[in-house]
């Protein structure tokens, strides 16, 4: 008997949660892919799932889909156990993978219908609408589709099903900007219908435009989770100011980073929560001109993706060195 680490008794999820993951662990041989990951997706929300490549997003999704067996932690999906009740739960969800491979001897239209039927039926009107919206030719066969078009086949198959939960793993990685817009429009409609979406993505504009809440993971652990507004408070605003007098005492302020002083001109970054205090200090000295660059999520993500990572820095330096060598090689 193999042990069943994913116990169903003390649930990680509450009633209004579509997905509840607590302390999820998964190892492949000696590699630890997930190391105590938490993820909570409420019913009816669009939840962004972010993290650098190899941080464990797809592994988490594959555990949620019952394709991988968890080594530890609690996993609840639509109030069920995704490993034991896979087929039953799957009728209530649709999954769009990031790498779509189609059967070479089946047309795109056949794949869409087959996957829909296996899920328990699909909405014909919606199917036609989506094919039109994504400008997809359903008569082409498997390999004659480009990457973007294979992606569209999977998107139409997933989005045309009448399901409660959509799990999308980098669903727009091959799409052009027009199709990206069509995708965002569709997801807004889906949310309007009260369905839940888990969206793994690297496209920050997409995340900002669509997601109610996001979770950021790194090296198999959740490092940040909350609404975008919550996260914005964690970002830093860049200030550049020409002052009436010499900028004294700014360096002693907490939450001020990367201070550079050039005569009466200062540049620094400040944690958005402490912006008020910093500005008060500046106006005390007297402000002649001031530029403030609003916080972007991108900076936050970059910080989360790269912070506390001396090893990664070292790796990057090494890679750069290798590239240098390759380039200079005859």
């Amino acid at each position: 008997m193999t042990h069943n680490a994913v116990s169903s008794a003390p649930s990680g999820a509450t009633a209004h949660e579509a997905i509840g993951v607590a302390g999820l662990r998964k190892t492949f041989g000696r590699t630890t892919a997930l190391d105590g990951l938490d993820l909570h997706v409420e019913t009816g929300e669009v939840h962004g799932f972010l993290g650098p490549n190899g941080s464990g997003k797809s592994t988490t999704i594959r555990v949620l889909l019952g394709l991988l067996r968890a080594d530890g932690g609690d996993v609840r999906l639509l109030d069920g156990d995704p490993w034991r009740q896979a087929a039953t739960l799957h009728r209530r969800l649709a999954y769009v993978p990031g790498d779509v491979n189609l059967w070479p001897n089946l047309s795109g239209g056949e794949v869409i219908d087959l996957l829909g039927r296996l899920r328990g039926g699909l909405d014909k009107r919606r199917r036609a609408e989506l094919i039109e919206r994504f400008e997809l030719d359903p008569t082409k066969k498997g390999r004659t589709y480009s990457k973007g078009n294979r992606q569209k086949v999977a998107l139409v198959a997933g989005l045309a099903s009448d399901v409660e939960l959509l799990i999308l793993d980098e669903p727009t990685s091959g799409l052009d900007p027009l199709m990206e817009a069509a995708f965002q429009e569709t997801i807004r409609e889906v949310r309007g219908e009260g369905r839940t979406v888990l969206l793994s993505s690297h496209i920050l504009a997409e995340v900002e435009a669509l997601c109610d809440r996001v979770s950021i993971i790194r090296a198999g652990r959740t490092v940040e989770t909350g609404t975008l507004d919550d996260l914005r408070h964690l970002t830093r605003t860049s200030i550049s100011a020409e002052l009436a007098g010499h900028p004294n005492g700014l360096a002693t302020l907490p939450h001020v980073h990367d201070l550079r002083v050039d005569g009466n001109t200062v540049r620094f970054d400040v944690d958005t929560d402490s912006l008020d205090e910093a500005l008060r200090r500046l106006t005390d000295i007297g402000v002649r001109s001031l530029t403030s660059t609003p916080p972007t999520l991108e900076e936050l993500f970059l910080r989360h993706y790269t912070d506390e990572l001396p090893a990664t820095e070292a790796e990057r330096a090494e890679t750069a060195g290798r590239e240098e060598k390759t380039r200079t090689a005859p």
């Binding site: 594959r62 056949e110 219908d113 039927r117």
Partner: protein, 548 residues
């Protein structure tokens, strides 16, 4: 506008046309040899070792001239040998015996490995999209094909050389060994050429390999039909037949080697002529647009399995049907082609007369059919792993389809498909034999039943493949090696005097030799139970493991 015109490269030296078209071939050959650095040398050694071990066993098995004369007589008296192994020209020497007994299997293995190697480095590279990556570098139009053909050619020649060296090493005549090695190597070269052509014709690497493999099958049948009937000229049409017609260790007919050499050149020329007529990744046989919506039938995982398996299954059924009809028709005449010397009459008497010979012939046919047919079972099982690694299982398993149902849809084609292939072959074998012997009602049930008796052994091979797929998915391909090992043990184990414990490993060793021998149900029940246990363990393992 004038300020930033596009960069115009300085005068390039104009590369000559052929050099450009072949640019990068050397790099690609090195890449191919690097990728195949283990599999190709291992196969070359296995093939050479197999032949050498046969040659060294000969002295022990037939130590004196009297026993060798007895062997010559019994081989001449039993045409079922000619089907599997081809004609024997010299059974007085270890070399001649080896060329007869191991010529076909050495040629088969060399040819298939060479063909698969060509496909792997040409069509499969296009399938996976890696070709585009390479072609965007400085790689000429003909470079990938040239590299694939060169690699497979090097493999064939190395195998031939190694085989000649090892057979000489165990004491066979050196000149004969060279002729034998050359005959095997040139057969490999012919199928290098065949695969170079099929890689242009087929749209996918699997299709290209199937076409090349089927070509070998057809040419083998042509050879077998020629060698067991009056129409010996049929054998002369087959490259598989040329391997024997070199008459290595007997007369050493060197000129025969010119036939495969010329055929290879012709096939390669055809492949090079076909290549520029198609685009990278496309085939000469153009794909047609499909349906915009799925037909009413395509609504279950089983229906999808049918779509995925039907091409291969129909191909096997047709091939095995033809084979059954052909050998059934030949079987009723095999008693006649035995000569009428006194010695022959005595041998004939020993084997139970003409009828005994025909039964022996039929039972060796059913044995051969089972061994080749079990390859279908392996191929169909591997299809599941192929679907898994191509990431095509996930979209299915994330719908309402559970693992068991998905697996069931494929297992049906593995187990029932194998039965269908065998049943069609047996039905036509019986029909062919019944028609030509004039007693369909009497003969058909005997022959059909004898063929079906092979099914449990084939299911054991299938079960082993399913278990591998469930338990160690990364090693599923080892099912081919396992099936090949069973076949080799059954075909060559007795002649190599392997211990009984080893012979018993092969499921085919336990099947009663019907209709020649007595029927016994016990081994068949055991084999069926073993197959069921293997499949059950594989299914259980698959339900517990990670997918992908």
């Amino acid at each position: 506008m004038t300020a930033n015109v596009t960069h115009v490269p300085a005068t390039h030296e104009k590369p000559s046309r052929t050099a450009g078209a072949l640019a990068g071939t050397g790099h690609l050959v090195r890449l191919a040899l690097r990728r195949d650095r283990i599999v190709l040398p291992v196969w070359a050694l296995v093939i050479a070792f197999l032949a050498a071990s046969g040659a060294s066993a000969f002295e022990a098995l037939y130590p004196n001239p009297a026993e060798r004369a007895g062997l010559t007589a019994s081989v001449a008296a039993n045409p079922s040998f000619a089907i599997m192994f081809g004609p024997a020209y010299d059974l007085e020497t270890a070399g001649g015996f080896t060329a007869w007994r191991f010529g076909t299997i050495a040629a088969l293995l060399t040819s298939l490995i060479a063909a698969f190697t060509v496909t792997r480095h040409t069509r499969q590279e296009e399938d996976t999209g890696r070709q585009e990556l390479l072609s965007s570098a400085v790689v000429g139009r003909y470079a990938p094909l040239t590299a694939g053909v060169t690699t497979a050619g090097l493999f064939s020649l190395t195998t031939g050389a190694l085989l000649a060296a090892m057979v000489t090493g165990v004491g066979a005549d050196a000149t004969g060994s060279v002729a034998f090695g050359a005959a095997v190597a040139l057969c490999g070269l012919v199928f290098t050429g065949v695969a170079a052509v099929t890689a242009q014709l087929a749209e996918y690497s699997r299709t290209a390999n199937t076409l090349a493999g089927s070509t070998f099958g057809v040419l083998f049948l042509l050879r077998a039909a020629g060698d067991t009937s009056d129409a010996e000229w049929l054998s002369w049409l087959s490259p598989v037949g040329w391997v024997h017609r070199v008459r290595a260790f007997a007369e050493n007919e060197w000129w025969v080697l010119a036939l495969p050499a010329a055929t290879t050149l012709g096939l390669c020329a055809a492949a090079y002529a076909l290549l520029p007529r198609r685009d990278v990744g496309m085939s000469l046989i153009p794909g047609r647009p499909g349906r915009a919506t799925a037909g009413a039938g395509l609504r279950t995982s089983l229906a999808l399995s049918w779509r995925l398996h039907r091409g291969a299954l129909i191909g096997w059924i047709v091939g095995f049907g033809v084979m059954g009809m052909l050998f059934g028709t030949l079987a009723s005449g095999v008693g006649d082609i035995v000569g009428d010397s006194a010695e022959m009459k005595r041998m004939l008497q020993q084997m139970g007369g003409a009828r005994g010979i025909e039964d022996a012939f039929l039972s060796s046919i059913t044995g051969m059919v089972a061994m080749i047919g079990s390859m279908y079972a392996v191929q169909a099982t591997l299809r599941m792993r192929y679907e898994e690694t191509a990431l095509r299982v996930e979209p299915l398993l994330t719908t309402g389809v559970g693992r068991l149902r998905w697996l069931g849809g494929h297992l049906l084609f593995v187990l029932a498909g194998t039965a269908a292939v065998l049943a069609v072959c047996g039905a036509l074998l019986g029909l062919g034999y019944g028609l030509s012997s004039g007693d369909v009602g009497g003969e058909w049930p005997r022959v059909f039943g004898a063929t079906l008796a092979q099914l449990p052994a084939m299911w054991v091979v299938a079960g082993a493949a399913v278990l591998l797929f469930g338990l160690v998915p990364r090693a599923t391909v080892a099912a081919w090696a396992l099936a090949a090992a069973f076949v080799l043990i059954s075909m060559f184990g007795p002649i190599l005097e392997l211990p009984q414990a080893v012979l018993n490993v092969s499921p085919f060793a336990h099947v009663p030799q019907l209709p020649h021998a007595e029927f016994s149900a016990t081994p068949l029940l055991w084999l069926t139970a073993t197959a069921a246990a293997l499949v059950a363990m594989g299914v259980t393992a698959l339900r517990r493991r990670d997918i992908g």
